[in-house]
């Protein structure tokens, strides 16, 4: 059966297959850019954001609840075939984290940082690195929207950062000031991102009263160890380590800091030079990536079970989305089951024109 309820702490097996609604006020704050495009279109059409509770999401949330945050951060990787619901499970978990008051660091798609970059500037701080000002400032803007209350009050910088000859941020200033500087001075935004990540790493999970837990969420983590499609001015290929953003993000994904969790997703759809049938961690991360991410907790995401498919079908019927008269019959439902072979994204695309 289908049940829609506002968000409560979900950790029971009976709730698998049921939908819960994210209130629209929290939605804009938690996910300024993080949701998949088709889901955003669905939110706009149905006038509500309903996420299905599924087994991988519940598993991840239960691990997060039981983890010991005095120990180094655990790494979780969601993997599965194309269109199975990895990004949606990640978003479900991130919404849980933000309602629990964690600081959420969400990179919606790491693949966007390694391809189609309009401006690649040589880095101001290090000679061999390359900066991406547009992507960095965009990300800082989204980060500010998500974590407004942390930045303006609690967290302070621990040392003095010098951006250019004339601009610097003193020690003990609130982090929000640094973020604003990065958004206004676009040229040094990549360095600001690096400094921000360093500060958060040092200060997460302290023993003080205003300690916060840090959730690092990267979608498409296999982009960090693959190849890029960017070229330097002398047409030589750029490796991911040459980019400041990627380099600093890799430092974040090492498990040498305490007081948080690292939630990642593998993604073939945006990846470069990987075949469509690859979905396992060894295939997508490559040797170097796997060695860097090892040890991690793998969480497989699979297609819909019978119960979940039924729930999805009933949700679409309830929202008046299945319009073709045949799709409302039992035979039409069986045809949908066969045509989509229970894959969530294919089912969604089929139902959109039927």
């Amino acid at each position: 059966t289908m049940l829609k309820s506002t968000f409560t702490l979900l950790s029971w097996q009976q709730q698998v297959g049921q939908y819960y609604t994210i209130p629209s006020a929290q939605l804009k704050k938690a996910f300024p850019n993080g949701l998949p495009r088709r889901f955003q279109m669905q939110i706009k059409t149905f006038n509500e954001a309903c996420v299905m509770v599924r087994q991988p999401g519940l598993e991840l949330i239960s691990y997060l609840k039981r983890a010991d945050y005095a120990k180094p951060a655990l790494r979780y990787i969601l993997f599965g075939e194309v269109g199975c619901g990895k990004t949606m499970s990640l978003c479900h978990t991130l919404h849980f984290c933000s309602t629990q008051g964690w600081l959420v660091l969400h990179v919606p798609d790491a693949h966007l940082w390694v391809k189609n970059c309009k401006e690649l500037l040589p880095s101001s701080s290090r000679p061999t690195r390359l900066d991406q000002p547009i992507e960095a400032s965009q990300w800082l803007k989204n980060f500010k929207i998500t974590n407004e209350h942390f930045l303006s009050k609690q967290i302070k910088t621990t040392r003095r950062y010098i951006w250019t000859k004339r601009e610097s941020t003193e020690e003990g200033r609130p982090l929000g000031e640094m973020v604003d500087h990065g958004m206004s001075r676009v040229k040094s935004s990549s360095d600001v991102v690096g400094a921000l990540l360093r500060e958060l790493r040092l200060q997460a999970g302290g023993a003080t009263e205003d300690a916060f837990r840090l959730a690092v969420a990267v979608d498409g983590v296999n982009a960090l160890w693959g190849k890029t499609s960017l070229k330097k001015e002398d047409k030589s290929p750029v490796s991911p380590d040459d980019l400041t953003l990627i380099h600093n993000l890799k430092k974040m994904l090492r498990n040498d800091w305490c007081g948080g969790a690292i939630l990642t997703t593998l993604s073939q759809t945006g990846s470069l030079f990987k075949p469509r049938s690859a979905y396992l961690p060894t295939e997508l991360l490559g040797e170097e990536g796997f060695d860097n991410m090892d040890p991690f907790v793998p969480i497989p995401v699979s297609n819909y079970s019978d119960k979940e498919f039924e729930s999805c079908y009933l949700y679409y019927m309830d929202r008046n989305w299945l319009q073709h008269p045949h799709s409302r019959t039992e035979e039409g439902r069986k045809e949908l089951l066969f045509l989509s072979s229970r894959n969530p994204s294919i089912l969604e695309r089929l139902c959109s024109f039927l």
Binding site: M41, K44, T45, F46, N47, R319, N320, W321, Q323, H324, P325, H326, S327, E331, G332, E335, S352, F353, L354
Partner: protein
């Protein structure tokens, strides 16, 4: 009758050489894709039907005709008319995106508006498409008739297939030519179909102009001899 039909089974070539028409011998029957036609068991068939099933030859079915109830002949015809250079995949993509765009707009209106208006909003993209094409069909057409060295535009009635063809052709040419260059075809089509559903928009205007031309040439109607 049996003698003349069976006489077509000899080696047969058509009298005119068709380029785009079907090259089948007229003996061959059209294929029946719907599953319901084959539902009756063997014992219940009349002797004529049994003879039809056992002896008559049938043409090969087209690739896009399937037995699923989701199959729609008018939509298939529209996809074929939109297709360029044989790229059926792209034409079908555009059609499905158009249906999705129409449904999204209507369902958004349905959910965001007050409950009183919900009855009046038509959300089914197929119903909207059929109604829009229905609204665009011209009733009367013009043809050129030569009389005394001059050719005159004479109003005549159109066959059903010609009306359907004209409606779809006008829809496609309108969306290809008269819209902004940077919009996608499915956006343009969905806007135009929704406008035609409400009996407004450029295609309906073109249909009315067509009717007015036929009305203006009413005097030549007696030139028609058939």
């Amino acid at each position: 009758m049996a003698a003349t039909i069976a006489s077509l089974l000899k080696p047969w070539t058509p009298r005119l050489c068709p380029v785009r028409w079907s090259r089948y011998n007229p003996y061959y029957l059209e294929p029946e894709p719907r599953r319901e036609a084959y539902a009756a068991p063997e014992a219940e068939l009349t002797p004529e039907e049994r003879e039809l099933k056992t002896t008559r030859s049938i043409k090969a079915a087209r690739a896009n005709d399937n037995s699923s109830p989701y199959n729609d002949p008018i939509i298939s015809k529209f996809i074929n008319m939109m297709m360029q250079d044989g790229n059926k995949i792209l034409a079908r993509e555009i059609m499905t995106q158009t249906l999705e765009a129409i449904k999204r707009k209507q369902v958004e209106k349905y959910h965001s508006g007050p409950a009183a208006e919900r009855e009046g909003i038509e959300c089914n993209p197929y119903a909207i498409f059929h109604q829009a094409i229905e609204n665009c069909r011209p009733v009367i057409g013009l043809t050129s008739v030569q009389k005394g060295g001059r050719s005159y535009q004479v109003p005549i009635s159109l066959t059903d297939s010609r009306r359907r063809f004209l409606a779809m052709k006008w829809m496609i040419t309108e969306c290809r030519d008269n819209k902004h260059r940077r919009t996608h075809m499915y956006e343009k089509l969905s806007q135009e179909l929704l406008a035609a559903f409400a009996n407004e928009g450029n295609v309906i205007k073109r249909k009315h102009d067509f009717h007015k031309m036929a009305e203006a040439n009413r005097a030549y109607a007696h030139f028609r001899w058939w």
